[in-house]
């Protein structure tokens, strides 16, 4: 059974600071997704990581994938309030692309 663990589950940070969210998973996979969810809203796709060593960046967010370590990271650079949301990683085992989600990291960025 695939297990996906995110940490931390809650992160309170000040604007301008850097931080990293970690996503560990228990079974070999080379497809991993990051989503953002605002309170009461749906999930918005942030990154699709498809191979070992994949790195993608969008604005202040950068995601990477290490399939050998079964680890993905979401790095936040110089956080701003607009990044406050819950971030989920999800692992795709292939086949019909069913996803197993982590429990999410609630990020709160304050002045």
């Amino acid at each position: 059974e695939l297990k996906v663990e995110q940490n931390p589950l809650f992160l309170s940070m000040q604007e301008g600071k850097n931080y990293t969210i970690y996503c560990n998973y228990s079974t070999t996979s080379d497809r991993l997704y990051w989503y953002r969810q605002d309170p009461g809203k749906s999930l918005e796709s942030l990154f699709v990581l498809l191979s070992n060593g994949a790195v993608k960046q969008e604005g202040r967010l950068m995601a990477s994938l290490d399939t050998k370590a079964r680890l993905s990271t979401l790095h936040i650079t110089a956080a701003v309030h607009d990044l406050s949301a819950t971030y989920f990683c999800a692992v795709d085992l292939g086949g019909y692309s069913t996803l197993t989600f982590g429990k999410g990291t609630m990020l709160l960025v304050s002045p």
């Binding site: 996906v4 589950l9 497809r31 997704y33 989503y35 809203k41 749906s42 999930l43 918005e44 796709s45 699709v48 498809l50 989920f88 999800a90 019909y96 692309s97 069913t98 996803l99 197993t100 989600f101 982590g102 429990k103 999410g104």
Partner: protein
Amino acid sequence: NAGVTQTPKFRVLKTGQSMTLLCAQDMNHEYMYWYRQDPGMGLRLIHYSVGEGTTAKGEVPDGYNVSRLKKQNFLLGLESAAPSQTSVYFCASRPDRPTGGAWETQYFGPGTRLLVL
């Protein structure tokens, strides 16, 4: 394109009542999924479909049934609702193959909030 839409947005049921949640997508996607989201649990897959007329069980299928009679629609049914089914339900869809050379993510609907009393 409306993308993925869900009906209704919110519903209150009494224990034992039945209801159907409708998911529709206008992107001609083959794959469709139903998830539930509970506080602190992330999203868990209930059922999925890989094409018209097909369905398969996910991680938490008990108490739910699904049907995919048309490619664009995926229905989730609760035959006898229980308080444990109080949750937010999300539908998602995606193509069955890369589009324009790019591997696709799942596209999510806005969600249906269900309260079972």
